[in-house]
């Protein structure tokens, strides 16, 4: 256990010292990485720990962004109230999604969350009077002291670290262990008397809450929201980060986010073909390493440990 704390401290220290080593532009990339890592972690709660893979979390994430930006810019409300409303809206969306989705699992769960995400996207595209449609909503809602790339990074680091801690506590709590049990064998859990649908529902709502929180941070980072923020691609990206890093590990989501966003920035300097690279990564991961980088690392370590002990 102590090793885990040591690793966490090292990672946090590295992240905290990062801005000293890189330029302002790269600091904002780092902010983006953290926000998406948080989104991916929220997806991991379902995909990794509950065994239900969702493709609609981009929509939940974006709902928070839309609500906070709308409230502060168009409705001229206060930032604090906007943030609270944004998180509430995202959680409410997760409640609706979850209530419908708990009746399904596997591929149907995937398709249902995809469809629900598409509904949100469709609304954001066509409800022009509120969402601005194709124009989106522009608004720099950051207070003065966050205008600096570095300050925004530290705020994001602080909040995402707390979120990661909370999610970690959640998945390792007795409730979280029940979710893992559901992932292993739903019928067994049912036989043991657990209310499986209720557990999945709560897991969904909690995951949606964190996705919404990430969405608020995104509003600060991007100062702009449009249907692109809630589109399917967003959900796919988040899921891919969780998978490439390693589902069921939470930490894997951070790795996945770092790998994918850094790769995107590097690859885009040399070629326009980032989509293709991403696609190949997806294919490769699914065939050779579905447990992701962290999962694979753990496998290798475990094998080495068992070899040593035998």
């Amino acid at each position: 256990m102590n090793k885990r704390y040591a690793w966490t401290a090292i990672v946090l220290a590295a992240l905290a010292l990062l801005p000293l080593a890189i330029t302002g532009y790269h600091t904002s990339i780092a902010t983006q990485i953290l926000i998406y890592a948080a989104l991916a972690m929220s997806i991991d709660i379902l995909a990794g720990y509950t065994g239900r893979t969702p493709l609609g979390h981009g929509a939940i994430f974006g709902v928070a962004t839309y609500v906070v930006l709308y409230y502060v810019t168009t409705a001229n409300g206060s930032l604090a109230a906007g943030i609270v409303l944004g998180i509430l809206a995202a959680t409410a969306t997760a409640v609706v999604f979850g209530a419908l989705a708990i009746r399904t699992s596997g591929v149907y769960f995937l398709l249902l969350t995809l469809a629900l995400g598409m509904i949100v996207w469709g609304v954001s595209l066509r409800w022009t009077s509120v969402t601005g449609g194709e124009n989106g909503i522009r608004g720099n809602i950051k207070p003065e002291w966050l205008a600096n790339h570095v300050n925004l990074y530290y705020l994001t680091l602080a909040i995402t670290s707390l979120m990661a801690l909370a999610m970690w506590r959640f998945v390792n709590s007795p409730f979280g262990l029940t979710l893992k049990g559901i992932r292993e064998s739903e019928s067994r859990m049912r036989a043991l008397g657990y209310n499986v649908p209720l557990h999945v529902f709560i897991g969904f709502v909690v995951s949606g809450f964190f996705a919404g929180l990430a969405g608020i941070l995104y509003a600060f980072y991007n100062s702009f929201v449009s249907p692109s923020t809630v589109e399917l691609k967003q959900s796919v990206s988040g899921l891919l980060m969780a998978i490439v890093g390693g589902v069921g590990t939470l930490f894997g989501s951070l790795i996945g986010s770092i790998v994918i966003i850094s790769l995107e920035n590097v690859v885009s300097l040399y070629t326009e073909r980032w989509s293709m690279v991403l696609g190949f990564m997806f294919i490769f991961t699914m065939i050779f390493a579905p447990e992701g980088l962290v999962g694979k690392a753990r496998q290798i370590l475990a094998r080495r440990r068992s070899k040593r002990s035998s």
Partner: protein, 422 residues
């Protein structure tokens, strides 16, 4: 918890050190005054106006190639990024160009929503942004920004007003508008509707289709049912070509007259079309079929370089590059002093414009143009182009209104279309 304490310590220390030494990270120190001028050109190379987007790059580069990529002793370096016809992507690319590639200026974009997103971004950091095509009204009206300049460009509601006037003169009384549902569409329709209704016409109904609408049939059914005197069609890029095709395929071309916006009958749309695109009426300041010396020369140059007739996107960015060159000469190549450079940009009088007349900005930052009502005809060589059939001299972004009074009314949007209630 142990790790929370450690985390707080680590961040606290780092934050303190960084706070003491941080500088606005995107303010790049003045580059050497003899190095190349790096221009970040954003264009939609994919998406609904991809054909036009490509021509933004072609038109812009044509001018620089003609002057040997060098002005007032400084090399010109153009860095191109695809904005995907999407405001979020445009924002990302703008950030990348400014903060990672350290460009001196941003230029380009086509769709108004992408331009507005970028304008919001440069509002915060003072980087000059030049928009020969982004036509969002308010960038030269109610929400003018010091560092956003509409060189060789036009504003959305400026060009459809003569079209509306022409429509009234043809005796049309009842109009229907169909338009892409985004800023440019809202403002073009607003300009049309206000002028049309102020001249005694009525707007029966307005239809708004999302960008990249593949199937117009639901709208066509409704339009046909309303039996209007005329339809104002505000479509750009692929939506324009699909509308024109489907309008013809549904047999409506000979039934209901249509007045098209400038982009719908633009070369980038009609160049690959057949008889369904003949005889279309539109209005614009750029009319490639106009027999005039400067225009003909531009067409010849463009044809030599790219083997096609120029579209409004190629023309606008060619003119934009010419404008920037004039400004660079005015400051003798010293473009690093942004405030001074922007000042000089606003003073430029573009005498070499392919329009054959001098183009300059009005007091609010938008050029004044002669507008032409155009018709598409087939040339002897089989190609389609726009020829003038009527003209409206010296049309500004304010039409016949007093600027201050005009700006007191709300900006055009989905909910405000300037329709005069009778």
């Amino acid at each position: 918890m142990m790790n929370r304490r450690k985390f707080l310590k680590a961040t606290g220390a780092a934050a303190a050190t960084t706070a003491a030494t941080s500088v606005g990270p995107w303010v790049h120190t003045a580059s050497a005054q003899t190095g190349p001028i790096r221009i970040g050109l954003m264009a939609p190379l994919t998406g609904v106006v991809a054909a036009g987007g490509r021509e933004v790059v072609e038109g812009f580069n044509l001018y620089w190639d003609q002057v040997g990529k060098k002005v007032a002793g400084r090399e010109i370096e153009v860095i191109v990024e695809d904005d995907g016809a999407n405001p979020d992507t445009s924002l990302q690319k703008a950030r990348r160009l400014v903060e990672q590639r350290n460009v001196h200026w941003l230029v380009g974009n086509i769709l108004a929503n992408t331009g507005l997103a970028v304008a919001e971004y440069v509002k915060g950091n003072g980087v000059p942004y030049f928009i020969p095509v982004i036509a969002a009204d308010d960038l030269t009206q109610r929400k003018r920004l010091n560092n956003v300049v509409r060189i060789a460009g036009y504003s959305s509601s400026q060009t459809p007003r003569p079209i509306a006037d022409y429509g009234l003169k043809q005796g049309y009384k009842k109009a229907v508008t169909i338009s892409q549902d985004y800023a440019f569409g809202h403002e073009q329709c607003g300009g049309f509707c206000q002028t049309f209704t102020e001249g005694g016409g009525t707007i029966m109904q307005q239809f708004w289709n999302p960008l990249n609408t593949a199937d117009f049939s639901p709208y066509l059914a409704q339009i046909q049912n309303l039996k209007p005197d005329v339809v104002f069609s505000m479509e750009t890029g692929a939506d324009a070509s699909r509308f024109i095709q489907q309008w013809n395929n549904f047999g409506l071309k000979d039934k209901i007259p249509v007045l098209y916006c400038q982009n719908a009958t633009d070369q980038s749309v009609i160049r690959t079309m057949g008889p369904e695109a003949e005889g279309l009426i539109s209005g614009a300041h750029f009319c490639e079929g106009r027999d005039e010396a400067a225009n003909n020369k531009f067409l010849a140059d463009y044809n030599k370089a790219y083997n096609k007739l120029p579209s409004i996107y190629g023309f606008s960015h060619y003119s934009g590059a010419m404008w920037l060159a004039e400004a660079i000469k005015r400051v003798n190549g010293k473009v690093e002093d942004k405030v001074n450079f922007l000042n000089e940009v606003r003073q430029v009088k573009l005498t070499g414009s392919p329009l054959g007349r001098s183009v300059e900005l009005d007091p609010y930052g938008n050029p004044v143009y002669d507008m032409y009502i155009r018709k598409t005809v087939k040339r002897p060589d089989g190609k389609l182009w726009n020829v003038p059939i009527a003209s409206y001299p010296n049309v500004s972004q304010f039409w016949k209104y007093n600027p201050e009074t005009y700006m007191a009314q709300p900006p055009y949007s989905r909910t405000f279309q300037g329709i005069k209630k009778t």
